[in-house]
């Protein structure tokens, strides 16, 4: 009984913190329609800032708290609205998610950069030391204060949203921003208020929760996942329901910690589970949501268009991948070549996003985690070098993907993203860390106590143990998968997936089974991710579970979106960018640079949701292909550069830079040529048709960006 009271009080206090953070999240979502994945990261930065003020600069506790929560965080929210969030109006859910995730990643990198992660830091609770004695129970004054603060926040938000005009206008903004303006209220002002208050609440929660965890960026940022569950219980709309949900979650969390860890049997299996409780609650809350009605396409004109690749272009790309892989394997140093083997695994995991997110418009944040499952299978079954282990990795991961998709079929948009994130976190916090267990007499150790060991396969007489052989073989597998996805895009199934993305309701009324198509694409993508995870592991030969966590997975998604999530070329970019040796070699001291670069690029995605390939690269490349002499010159130049490299005249960087300069000038010349000899309708022609404006990408040759089925494009 005594223990029960203690756990209840501390559980309510934990719930209070969840409530503060979740209601901030709900506020910004309800006002702007943007689910802020960076909410936790803002709290994390705030906790660090508070530590800096309080511990380093010896500011009084409450003053430091006030400076962060009332001054710094609102300023940050203001800047965030101005620099990033405002541009997200009218973009798709994927873009919104990716951009806020990018902000989160950027903040984590920033924190790691400013505050050396090697130093151990702690924050003391705001009101530490004082205790209320109530019979045999001692209650921490801090817990009570947190609970009261949470109640004040919930009450204040309730009053703001329902009893003030600006609050009502903030809720109205989600319904119809242009109607808000017609009423004479400024949508921008309303959104700004929401971001300011949201950032302030995130900061408050971050400072309050930090004493319960260590003061390090990732755990503090991921605490937000726990608060998502509360926000989802409140349907991302109702502040009171969010508050109740947060308290229940806090109680479940602290009872779990209190009681589950006292059970004698199976203790080692439950430890990870305790950390995963909020995620499990989130999953259940999502499943209990009423099924979203199929919605037709919103009546806005989409700026995100899908390109139908040609076989010729796809074959060229696939061939180029293999040729470049062979070239690289000749010239890279041993260490670089070894690390570069991860290009193909990461590229495949990036590729697995293309059918799912790019074609079908279903957001998954667990593709890399599924890759982790593929890696586990490959490590366990492929110990003898049997290539069938790869097949098994595909099959098992596809099956797991289907199982994950089954409950997720009813969800879409932000809810689907959250449930896949919950799955990723559950794997990471619990399943991957499970100690060995025995099934039917076989002892199974999922992650072999921390890191998986791989044997590279052999195909009959072909041994892929060496880095060179494995690297080239990996490129071949990757290139084949590229062609597979291009084939999918060009097939009827690909058309159906796109139709489903554009309008689920219209697809259903045309007789499509939306659910089975969704299940199918989840399974297919999971299989690709499983293969990617297996190759990733085999390349590096030893990987730990941390490589498959949610944040790494989201980085892959970011890179894909930056390049253009619906194009297979994006997977090539992702593989080379995240797996290649370039960035780490260039700036060895700035390990965070990759993440920062991807994050800042992704923040720019709001402007150009089709990605850089569709916007710039493809139209320019098309111009080069249309000028045969230019293309021949480019290929010749590249061959000469490679010859110079082989001859030792150029070093690796000289070769890469020369090649890039050659490609860049060819693209520029192609533009000039195209400008002087337009090979189609001139770009500035207007079409005075009544059936709608011309489709247009940001690229300079807009009329060629989209190909209608049945109208094969003829190239000279």
């Amino acid at each position: 009984m005594h223990a029960f009271v203690v756990y209840t009080i501390s559980g309510l206090a934990t719930g209070g913190i969840f409530a503060i953070t979740a209601s901030g999240l709900t506020l910004t979502y309800a006002t702007t329609g943007i689910f802020n994945f960076a909410h936790g990261a803002i709290g994390m930065i705030a906790a660090f800032a508070y530590w800096q003020l309080r511990t380093q600069w010896n500011m009084p506790t409450l003053l430091a708290f006030a400076v962060v929560v009332i001054v710094l965080a609102p300023l940050f929210g203001l800047g965030l609205e101005r620099a990033v969030m405002r541009r997200l109006q009218g973009t798709t859910e994927v873009t919104k998610i990716v951009v806020t995730v990018a902000v989160a990643l950027g903040l984590v990198s920033l924190a790691l950069w400013i505050w050396n992660p090697g130093t151990f830091r702690t924050i003391r609770p705001l009101w530490s030391g004082r205790v209320i004695v109530w019979g045999p129970v001692r209650i921490s004054w801090n817990d009570v204060a947190v609970l009261v603060l949470a109640g004040l926040v919930a009450g204040g938000l309730r009053i703001l949203l329902h009893s003030t005009r600006i609050g009502v206008a903030m809720r109205a903004t989600v319904d119809d921003p242009s109607l808000v303006a017609r009423n004479g209220s400024r949508a921008v002002v309303n959104a700004r208020v929401a971001w300011v208050i949201g950032a302030s609440l995130a900061a408050m929660a971050g400072i309050l929760v930090a004493p319960k965890l260590t003061l390090s960026p990732l755990p503090l940022t991921l605490v937000i996942i726990d608060a998502y569950a509360a926000a989802v219980i409140g349907r991302l709309r109702s502040v009171p329901m969010t508050f109740v949900g947060a308290l229940l979650l806090g109680l479940a969390n602290d009872y779990g910690i209190g009681y589950l860890t006292n059970i004698g049997a199976g203790q080692q299996y439950l430890q990870g589970f305790v950390a995963a409780i909020p995620v499990v609650v989130l999953f259940i809350a999502l499943l209990a949501m009423p099924t979203a009605r199929l919605r037709g396409a919103r009546l806005h004109r989409t700026t995100e268009l899908s390109y139908r690749p040609t076989w010729r272009g796809a074959l060229l790309l696939a061939a180029a991948v293999v040729v470049v892989a062979e070239m690289l394997s000749e010239v890279l140093s041993r260490g670089d070549l070894f690390h570069s083997t991860q290009i193909w695994g990461l590229g495949l995991i990036g590729l697995s996003f293309v059918p799912l997110v790019g074609f079908a418009g279903r957001i998954s944040l667990c593709q890399l985690s599924l890759g982790g499952i593929g890696a586990m299978v490959a490590a366990h079954l492929g110990a003898s070098g049997d290539p069938l282990a790869l097949v098994a990795a595909v099959v098992v991961t596809a099956a797991v993907g289907a199982v994950v998709a089954l409950p997720a079929l009813r969800l879409s948009g932000i809810y689907l993203a959250l449930s896949t994130a919950a799955f990723a976190v559950a794997l990471d916090r619990w399943i991957f860390g499970l100690p060995p267990f025995t099934v039917f007499g076989h002892q199974i150790s999922l992650f072999q106590g921390g890191s998986l060991q791989f044997t590279r396969p052999h195909l009959g007489p072909l041994h892929l143990g060496g880095d060179h052989a494995f690297f080239v073989a990996g490129s071949v597998v990757f290139a084949l998968c590229l062609l597979l996805v291009v084939g999918l895009r060009r097939s009827d199934t690909g058309q159906r997936l796109l139709a489903m993305r554009d309008s689920p309701a219209a697809s259903a009324t045309l007789g499509m089974n939306v659910r089975s198509a969704t299940l199918w694409v989840f399974t297919f993508s999971a299989g690709l991710a499983g293969l990617g995870g297996a190759l990733y592991g085999m390349g590096l030969q030893s990987v730990d579970a941390g490589r498959f966590d949610l944040f790494s997975g989201v980085t892959v998604l970011l890179a894909m979106v930056v390049a253009g999530i619906s194009t297979v070329g994006a997977a090539v970019f992702t593989g080379f960018f995240l797996g290649g040796p370039s960035l780490a070699n260039l700036f060895p001291t700035l390990t965070q640079l990759t993440a920062v670069a991807v994050a800042s690029a992704a923040v720019g995605v709001g402007r150009n949701p089709n990605g850089i390939i569709a916007a710039y690269l493809r139209p320019q490349w098309d111009a080069v292909v249309r000028a045969p002499r230019l293309l021949a010159g480019l290929l010749g130049g590249l061959a000469i550069a490679y010859a110079l490299r082989l001859g030792g005249v150029l070093d690796n960087w000289g070769w890469v830079v020369t090649s890039l300069v050659l490609i860049g000038s060819a693209l520029a010349i192609g533009q000039l040529v195209a400008a002087h000899h337009p090979a189609g309708p001139p770009p500035d022609v207007t079409h005075p048709t009544v059936d709608g404006p011309a489709e247009r990408l940001a690229g300079p040759v807009p009329d060629r960006a989209v190909e209608l089925p049945g109208a094969p494009r003829g190239r000279p």
Partner: protein, 262 residues
């Protein structure tokens, strides 16, 4: 219209002091485009202060775009819009609303997730106090009073249109822009709503409304215009315009309209 006295405390907006003097609405050479596709090819239209002008035309003629340009929702690529002689081209919609341009978009201009009362609260941005807005709205539409605390999304189509019209009734606008008021509503309700509009005109408000469905609005309009493919092809008394309409709907090429390259 003495209601202006009850302007709420909300910062002395520039319109607060202005009397609701009738304001004429002028459009001169207005052009507008979506991306590079021009949909309004130079619209000239003058609506006398305190009169009701109806613009009629087939689907896709650019009527809604025309209203959006006046309301500041869509930018004009050329030309000028004047309210009461003052150029308002390029002003943002919130500012225009506070200057007394009330626009009710196609398809029920209400916030479905807000209650009826909260919807009316949003009206107060234009300058009239909250109590005044509610009193006037509930007085004119007693049905809304019974549903004051229900979400607007739960109202019937007619009730939603009443709620949208309540904004025009209670915010003392100088110019009212109505887009397809009749869409999806029973003829009886449409007639009732146009009687309300007529009452507003009588009180000195300048009204520009746009319709595909002609008879009801022609019966109440002071002046009517036909719009086809982004051009005004005829302007005149409503009775004269009725004849023009047949050509607009049947041929897609009323006189004066160059056949677009469709």
């Amino acid at each position: 219209m003495a209601a202006r006295e009850s302007v709420d405390g909300h910062g002395g907006s520039p319109t607060g002091a202005q009397p609701t003097a009738p304001a004429r609405l002028d459009l001169a050479g207005v052009r507008a485009a979506y991306d590079r596709v021009e949909v309004l090819h130079g619209i000239d239209l003058a609506v006398e202060a305190g009169s009701l002008a109806a613009v009629l035309g087939p689907n896709g003629a650019g009527k809604s775009t025309l209203l959006d340009v006046v309301a500041g929702i869509h930018p004009a690529s050329a030309g000028e819009v004047r309210v009461g002689g003052e150029a308002v081209t390029g002003m943002d919609p919130a500012r225009l609303a506070r200057l007394g341009v009330c626009s009710i978009p196609e398809g029920r201009g209400v916030f479905p997730n807000l209650t009826v009362r909260e919807n009316l609260w949003m009206v107060t941005y234009a300058g009239v106090g909250r109590r005044e807005v509610e009193d006037r709205a509930f007085d004119r539409f007693p049905q809304l009073a019974r549903r004051a605390n229900q979400a607007a999304g739960q109202l019937s189509g007619g009730e939603q249109q009443m709620l949208a019209m309540a904004r025009a009734l209670t915010s003392d606008p100088r110019v009212l822009l109505l887009d397809e008021l009749s869409m999806g509503l029973a003829p009886r309700i449409v007639e009732e709503l146009y009687q309300v509009v007529r009452g507003l005109v009588a009180a000195g408000i300048t009204v520009l409304c746009v319709e595909q469905f002609a008879p009801t609005v022609l019966a109440v309009a002071d002046v009517a215009a036909v719009m086809v493919q982004g051009r005004i092809t005829a302007v005149g008394r409503p009775s004269d315009i009725a004849a023009e309409l047949a050509a607009a709907y049947l041929g897609g090429g009323a006189k004066g309209d160059r056949a677009g390259g469709g």
